[in-house]
Every structure is written in structure tokens, then in C-alpha cells.
Symmetry: C2
Subunit: 373 residues, 2 copies
Amino acid sequence: MPFAAALPLQSGAAIRDYSLSFETYGRLNAKKSNAVLICHALNASHHVAGVYLGQDKSEGWWDNMIGPGKPLDTDKFFVIGVNNLGSCFGSTGPMHVNPDTGRVYGADFPVVTVEDWVNAQARLLDALGIQTLAAVMGGSLGGMQALSWALQYPDRVRHAVVVASAPNLTAENIAFNEVARRAITTDPDFHDGHFYQHGVIPKRGLRIARMIGHITYLSDDVMNEKFGRQLRESVRREGAGDYLFSTQEVEFQIESYLRYQGDKFAEYFDANTYLLITRALDYFDPARTYGGDLSQALARANCKFLLVSFTTDWRFSPKRSREIVKALLDNRCDVSYAEIDAPHGHDAFLLDDPRYMGVVRSYFDGIAKAVAA
Amino acid sequence: MPFAAALPLQSGAAIRDYSLSFETYGRLNAKKSNAVLICHALNASHHVAGVYLGQDKSEGWWDNMIGPGKPLDTDKFFVIGVNNLGSCFGSTGPMHVNPDTGRVYGADFPVVTVEDWVNAQARLLDALGIQTLAAVMGGSLGGMQALSWALQYPDRVRHAVVVASAPNLTAENIAFNEVARRAITTDPDFHDGHFYQHGVIPKRGLRIARMIGHITYLSDDVMNEKFGRQLRESVRREGAGDYLFSTQEVEFQIESYLRYQGDKFAEYFDANTYLLITRALDYFDPARTYGGDLSQALARANCKFLLVSFTTDWRFSPKRSREIVKALLDNRCDVSYAEIDAPHGHDAFLLDDPRYMGVVRSYFDGIAKAVAA
């Protein structure tokens, strides 16, 4: 959907003549009271659920969660998935033309924040004629957007579902982002972010960035369970379980997995988008303007909340979710909180844990009843 | 010290005409019974302690631990520091000439293992006329060497002091090593490990590798305490605490710290050495030939042990040290174990925690009494 009018950004810049890709699932009811907005994290898009024509199975990133009869039931709710500004899956991003210069944005794409994304999403709802969301929901960086919705548009959200998220990044979180960004920006093919016109892609950097990311998405436990110290099948066949004694060959299964993930990612993800999205993560910190006092920062919130965290998530640990819960309770907000004992680390928010799915299902069942009443 | 005779390596290869750099502190007693060998980790050398002529202060990496009147007291012990084969601080490594070809080794330097290092160290002791070590001591990868000494030369070691170490790497540990190696080997300046003759250094890769390493050396807690979400001084002055809204500028203090560490490291550390040492870490696994049974693997050990771990060390967590302790106890070995409640993560093994220092001091005091008796 095209938006001609300039969107003012937190940085002081603005972006105009941009477009947002979105998808909807289910039907908006007559009162327009059953809309649920889904916010995505780093590597995801507006294609949240469902199967495209000609596809065997869904490539929607939350298809296990959203659909007819699923925890977020599209027989009851009108679900909206939107690709964020600066992303690389359809909405206006660094690979598109800057109307002010007639040239591809590249590194000149304006820095966008979680707050900016929420403002852009609100404009999309305006265009769709939706004043109030039954719920806004997201995991990880998507959860930050859900939280920010509750603060920026307290009267337009009835429920916020914040999964595997945090009130801001820790120094360690920022550190991992910084290493990933440095891998990209120091790749000679990055060309200061204007690689498009050189006909190259900084794939080396993107691969490293993705490998680092993957380590932080998984728990130590699940990595040991899935890969442990196992050698690759081909290696094992050769030498009766013996090492290759090589510093560069892929020998352990975990190496093979990471390289595969890195290679795949570098084929489709945009390097400038990676920088933009990790920086939006770094910057998110609603307590910042309140001298670090999260309770004060969340005082504006006016909706009900469900927070979910996962015990083995060391990226956005349960401790971080509990900080949000505490700050909301300080403000006498209505908060449900589930800490799911799941082995998969941060990735758990995308996976099929029955307790997790059950918690979300029953929360949305409650919303559905209120909507129907 | 030069060694002409070929040293057979675990890989089946051998290395000849190599040299080991070493330093000694204190005096060997008449019975030659007070020698302590110190084994180093990734980024360290034979220069363990003491001040070189013309230096203001010690650049020895364990100078807080070793010296006159210090926990490992060089008034009582004869301490030997040795730089390992393949390292880049004096002993023969990838930057030296391969006597078989007359060309610089580069990536052709043979893959060396913890076991190979221990064999090379044993030859050095032979040359020094030392049959039996009062103790062998190391932290991290150095602790693996100390443990391996107890298995490879059970009759030549009386005590093994294994600090912040592990019986092998987890999948996550290997994963971090692999990302660091990929950053180096995919740097266009790496030239398949033969960058020396191109007159370049893969500094981009080395910087990334070091940044990743540093994240794993620190605890989340200490990172938050030291850096938190603080912005750099220069940034703070400009905009009253506001963000720069830039994806590439150094803005948070943690970014500045990591870049500095990366830059510094890339100036002096050898890229091929980085690959060799991380691979030695990956390969170390004494239980491997015993079907993963660590108790069986440690049955050969014949010395007494002190193990130390640090609560916030998530690289080699206390759990990993406890695995070693349990396996030693299964073999009715004499084991002391201290789990130090320190905030500094893996780095703690190099720092001045008084409880840690106290534990090591009293352990060596006990050895000193036995040696003197």
C-alpha cells in the first residue's frame, strides 16, 4: 500500500512516497473490533501464515500460531501481517529508489526505530479503516513493537501479546549486534552500503552475521542435543570417527549447520536492512526518557497484557520479561505472564510447544468472547 | 630452544627443526622437585610473569599469580612458561619457514593438538633435565593441557591445577570458534592462509574473531555493569544523551570497547595461529576414545588435582569443571575443587579475586611443604 505523505521519524528525518506490504487473514467484523496486528522480528515479513497458490506448504513464519482453528484463530479474528519499513521483503527499503535523489537509498535509507515502525503501522490501520486493535502481538523485536503500541497508541489497543522480548537490549545483546554489523560493513563488497550499483553483495559479512545470530537463537542445551560434538556423516564414514586434522574443512555437524544457515541467509537478506533492524533493536528503550525507570515509562499503557518467555532463552531471558511484568504491575495493569519451560532457547517463540500454544490459545479465546459480546 | 628431532603429531604428521620459546622464574632446587609448568591459552605466551628490562610494569599474563610472595611463589618454586608450537610469540609457528620446503608454513603448518603441545612441553623438560613436575597449571585451554599432562605423563606430574576449563568443547563453544575462523578465512586478505607472501594481513577477520571472543570471555552481568547501555562520552556531550541515529558510527560504549579490542588484536596476532589454536580446542576430548566415558578416560591420572571454576563463566561453566571433578572422584583421585562466586565471567581466571588467589596460594603452600620435606 503506497503512502505519499511524509512520515516523520524519531531521528528528525522523514520518509515519503513509501509503500508497506501487508497481508490479511480472516474477516473484519462489522464493528471492526476483531483486528489483530502481527509485528515481525529481524528475518520475517508480512507473510505470517497461510499457503500461496502453487505452494505445497506454508512459508508463513508464524503459520503454526495463526490460521483457522489455530491459537490465534482466523475464523474469529482479522489478522494483519505487515512488513516493516527498511525491511527487504516488499515494503520500501534500502534497495528502493529515494524519491528525493532518484537513486537507490542504500546506506542513505533513514534510520528507523521501533517507534517509527509503530507509527507506520498505525497509518496502515488508518488506511484500512481500523481504529482499534483487539490485539497487537509479536515475538522478540516484534514483542518490542507490541509493547510500544501500548505506549504510543494506548487508546487503539485492547491487548498486547509480548513474546520472548525485552524492555531494551543488554550490553551483550548490543555487542552481538555490533559484531554482526562490523562483519557486514568491513566486507569489501559492502562499498559503504552502496553495493547495489557495484553489482555485488557483501555475502561474506551477511554469512558471519547470520552465524552469530543463530548461536544466540539456540540454547546451549538444544545445540548439544541436536549437534553435540558429532562429526559430519561424510567425515565419520572416512576415518572411523577420527578427526580430519584440518583447520578449514567442515568437520563438526554444528559447523555444517551454521555454514548452511549463513549461506542461505546471504542469498536473500539485504545487508543494509540488517544494519537498520539491528540498530532499531539497539535503540529501543522506552525507559530511556524516564531516567531508566521502566515503571514510569509504562504508566501510559492502557491495555491488557500477555507476556510469554522461555526458560532457556539467553538472548531475551525470562528475567527481561519479568522486568516488564513488574513495571506493568507497578502501574496496576492487567497482566498475564507465562514462563514456558522449553529447551529451544530464543527460537522457542517460533516453535510448537504445546504449553506455549495453549497459553496463547486460551488468551485469544478470552479476547474472542469479549469481542463477540 | 631448538629441537632438531621430529616430533610425531596426533594427526600422523610430524614437525622437525622447531624451536620453543620459554622463560623460567625462581630457582630449580637440588632435587629438581620444585618445577611448575604453566600452560597458556589462546592469546598468551611464555612471558607469564615478571618485568623485562626497561619496562615500567609487567606484561606477563599471569603476573598477579606468579612471582616472589605471590600465590605461586617463585621464592619456593621454579616456574616455567612455554610458548606453544603454532603460536605467534616466539616458538615455531605458521609465520616461520618450513624446513621441508624452504617456504613459510602459512596454512601448511601442521594441525597441532593439546596432546601434541604436552609432548612438546615434555621434551622441553627433558632438555632442562626435569623428570617430574611438582605441578602443571593452566587456565582455559591451558587447563586442558594441565589435565592432559596428568593423562599422558601420569608419572611425571604430582599436581595438576586446572582453572576455568572443560573436558571438551560444547557445540556452542565450537560454534563460536567456527564463526571466528570463517571471519578470518573468508577475509579476502587471507589468501588461503598464505597472506604473508602477499604482504597483507587479514585484519578484518581477526578483528571480528577477537570481538566474538571477547563477548564470550565476559559475563552478561559484568558487561552490563561496565558498559550497560551507556553511550560514548563524545556522543553524550553532543546531543544531551540523544542517539546519533546512525547504523555505523560507534555510539554505545560496548561497541567502542569491542572495536578497540579487535583493532589491537589484529595488530599482533597471527591469523593462522588463530585457526590452529581454536581447532586444538575443538579437538580436545580425552573421553572420545572411551566412547565418551570421562571416568574411564581419567583412570590413568595419578596425580592430585585442584580445579577452580567461576560462577559467571558461561564459556567454560562450573558444570564443566564439575564433570571433571566427578570423573576424577570416580577414580578415587585426590581432588580439591573451588567454585568461585566471581562476576567477571571466563576472564575471572586472569583477574585478582582474593578468594581465587587464596585458594591457589594455599594449594601451592601445601605443595611447597611436601617439596621441602
